[in-house]
């Protein structure tokens, strides 16, 4: 029995979602500072799965909640508000929608239920050492040999590849294509095979969140090609438009600001008028960003498509998030280099955790410089 969420009022729906998170989400997993491995959040995932809430954006016929844009936004807002971990959601967020849109019936029947149950855990194989911001230059090759694709090359910055069973990947299937965006295909490949070698990369924060993945004659059956051969680039791009508002949501900066404020109070930092001004600047940057975010969210709620201008949100909020975490270090004074939790009064803060968390936000999801290139051409109409 599926509830018709979209028929509920926004307030009613928000109440229901909030209630579920507040009563069911494990306290110790709130606002996790790192990306968890699946085992850490497995228990929560089972609850979510039983409730039918793993894939809020998917159509109900595929086991999703079938939420419209307005409801979806509320769902994510509540998730972020309560510090609910997104879990291992690459399957739900990235590959599922692609299979729903471009996959064959057989692919849908096989893969979608396994994504929802997390029987398969996915990682994203897009970036390569020579193809970061310029993703279309990717060089990992896939050639056909009998019933299989044979994959050779290297992917990198693959988030949580060491805890994934499958990779969805962009590979070059026609090296002779006239433009580099052509000749790219979208493949699904199992990780557990001799030709795949995963090497976790240690981050500045001392954690292992992403990996290099080497392919040496790795194989995947031809039926794991999604969409048409050599049409992978357009497909992968088609998915990004709706997600772009989430990457610019105010929540990360808002949470960091809240943390900064309670920490600064314990530290007596508000006795310093210079600090007060910088805090006010950061807080107002977050408030006014939230006003702009609300404008875009309203657009979505009215059923309009978002334009390229939505990436303004990402640029502003990620840079603001970084400034807030830098203020945290300043407020910590001589403790600003300590990498474990500090107990100040009754507040426990890991000063550097949010600093580290903020660093890659201006790099991932299309670096802020790439976003500026896009805005200058697509929104401001500047030449060249």
């Amino acid at each position: 029995m599926m509830a018709d969420w979209n028929a509920m009022s926004d307030t009613e729906f928000r109440k229901e979602v909030r209630h579920f998170f507040e009563t069911e989400y494990p306290e110790e997993l709130r606002h996790l500072p790192h990306r968890p491995k699946f085992v850490e959040i497995e228990h929560w995932h089972r609850k979510l799965h039983a409730k039918g809430w793993v894939a809020p954006a998917w159509p109900a016929e595929y086991g999703g909640m079938g939420l419209n844009a307005a409801k979806l936004l509320i769902f994510y807002e509540e998730q972020q508000r309560w510090g609910v971990n997104r879990g291992r959601d690459m399957g739900v967020q990235m590959v599922g929608p692609l299979i729903i849109k471009f996959g064959t019936q057989q692919q849908k029947d096989y893969w979608l239920p396994r994504i929802l149950s997390c029987e398969d855990i996915w990682c994203q194989g897009y970036s390569e050492p020579g193809a970061g911001s310029d993703l279309a230059s990717l060089r990992t090759r896939a050639g056909i040999d009998g019933d299989d694709f044979v994959i050779n090359g290297q992917k990198t910055w693959t988030t949580m590849a060491h805890d994934a069973t499958h990779m969805f990947m962009l590979v070059r299937t026609d090296p002779g294509a006239p433009k580099k965006q052509q000749g790219i295909s979208f493949l699904l490949a199992p990780m557990d095979q001799p030709g795949v070698d995963v090497r976790p990369i240690r981050t500045l924060a001392g954690e292992y969140e992403f990996c290099e993945v080497f392919f040496d004659n790795a194989r995947t059956p031809c039926e794991n090609l999604v969409g048409e051969l050599n049409k992978g680039w357009t497909m992968a791009k088609a998915l990004l438009s709706f997600e772009r508002i989430f990457i610019g949501s105010p929540s990360l900066a808002q949470n960091a600001l809240g943390q900064l404020e309670s920490f600064a109070r314990c530290r007596g930092a508000f006795d310093d008028p210079v600090f007060c001004d910088r805090f006010a600047q950061a807080a107002l940057d977050v408030e006014d960003h939230a006003a702009l975010y609300a404008r875009f969210a309203d657009q979505l709620k009215r059923g309009e498509t978002l334009g390229a201008d939505v990436s303004m949100l990402k640029i502003w909020v990620t840079e603001c998030f970084q400034r807030i975490t830098e203020l945290m270090i300043e407020a910590a004074g001589p403790d600003g280099g300590t990498i474990s939790s500090l107990q100040i009064g009754n507040v426990s803060v890991d000063v550097l955790a949010s600093f580290y968390k903020a660093r890659p936000t201006t790099i991932y999801g299309g670096s802020n410089e790439i976003q500026r290139n896009i805005l200058s051409k697509a929104v401001l109409g500047l030449p060249g």
Binding site: F270, P273, C276, D277, F279, A280, Q281, A283, L284, D285, E287, D288, H289, A291, L292, A294, R295, D309, M312, I315, W316, E369, R372, N373, L375, S376, K377, V379, L380, G381, L382, P383, G384
Partner: protein, 368 residues
């Protein structure tokens, strides 16, 4: 906000924009400045005819009664063409005070119809500006003392003066032609004047007295501060558009300079500032319209002005840089925007001041 409100605001914006564009846009501001630096009483009348001066005055008192957000729309349009008419002063301060203190006074109708302009003189040099601090004395129907930073003093018909009465603050009306009232105009960067007024036993009409004056003044200042922020938002919008057009057409090294990445990224950052400022200030005005707690309204107004000043300063100064040498000349309009931004930023507090006020208000709310 409900959608019919949004439609009203859009119509209001369109009529104000058409009116200003027909009158010559920013070119009109240049002409008025070169002609000696005052505003055009005819324009005040025309604005009054589309109803803009009375937007925030209740219908029962002859206004449109559609609130502060509508005032913000007008203020943005004023800012876009850097119109020198004291529109924000009239909507926010003059009518802001009178509609709260004496809504039935005949001056209310005259202000709404544009027949009179009555700047509010509330600050004094050497005092914070709170009515209780006023050294300017009102006794036995006569006013003595001085007032400073009066926007729109040149060419006005009289003044609304906040003074110290026998037993607390008073609001009085002084006609400009009255004996014993002198106005010294201080030239501003945009060619306008700020008035320094002095009164010596000047006859004045008492309009209100007591705590109500203090409260109404504080509320009217919050309104006006937020409206001035909206004016800066409009100004920033247009300054950015002018600059964007310029870098698309100006060629060096056989290319439009807007094809260089460094300028593109700067333009993008200015655009983001402008959008954030617009969204923030509009949200503030919409909230202030329904917010009744004066402390919260004050904090919201400070948030708006802090944002708008930061954005306008950055946008107009970078705009001059992006224009290159011609940006430093008086022949291009962009300089007019820079100069107007200087004046509007200084009026009622700049961004640093308002961040301080915002923080203070937030701390007080937190403690309460």
């Amino acid at each position: 906000m409900i959608s019919s409100d949004q439609d009203d605001l859009r119509l209001l914006r369109e009529s104000a924009r058409t009116l200003f564009e027909r009158a010559g846009g920013s070119g009109r501001a240049r002409k008025l400045r070169d002609a000696g630096g005052t505003w055009d009483p005819e324009m005040v009348h025309e604005l009054a005819e589309v109803g803009v001066l009375g937007v925030a005055v209740p219908e029962v008192n002859g206004g449109l009664g559609i609130g502060l957000a509508a005032g913000g729309v007008i203020a943005e349009e004023v800012g876009r063409v850097i119109a020198p008419e004291p529109v924000v002063m009239t909507i926010g301060l003059s009518l802001g005070l009178l509609r709260r203190l004496c809504p039935d006074h005949p001056k209310v109708a005259q202000l709404i119809s544009g027949d009179t302009v009555l700047p509010v003189a509330w600050q004094e040099r050497g005092s914070g500006g709170a009515p209780g601090d006023a050294a300017c004395r009102y006794a036995d129907g006569k006013l003595t003392g001085s007032k400073a930073w009066v926007v729109g003093a040149a060419g006005s018909h009289g003044f609304l003066v906040v003074a110290r009465g026998d037993d607390g603050p008073v609001l009085v009306l002084v006609e400009a032609t009255t004996n014993g009232c002198s106005v010294e105009n201080r030239l501003q960067a945009d060619g306008s004047a700020m008035g320094e007024l002095s009164f010596s036993a000047t006859p004045a009409e008492e309009l209100a007295r007591g705590n109500a004056v203090t409260e109404a003044l504080s509320e009217a200042i919050s309104d006006t501060t937020a409206l001035a922020a909206a004016e800066l938002v409009g100004l920033s919008d247009r300054a950015f558009e002018i600059t964007l057009d310029y870098i698309k057409t100006r060629e060096q090294f056989d290319k439009p300079i807007g094809s260089f990445q460094i300028l593109q990224h700067r333009a993008v950052d200015l655009n983001i500032m402008r959008e954030v400022a617009q969204a923030g200030v509009r949200e503030v005005l919409a909230r202030m319209q329904y917010e009744t707690d004066p402390g919260v309204r004050k904090r919201l107004a400070s948030r708006a002005k802090a944002r708008a000043v930061t954005a306008a300063k950055k946008i107009t100064r970078d705009a001059v840089q992006l224009h290159g040498a011609v940006g430093y000349t008086d022949e291009f309009d962009i300089g007019l925007y820079l100069n107007r931004a200087l004046v509007l930023s200084a009026w009622l507090g700049d961004d640093t001041y308002h961040r301080r006020m915002w923080f203070k208000a937030r701390e007080q709310e937190g403690a309460a």
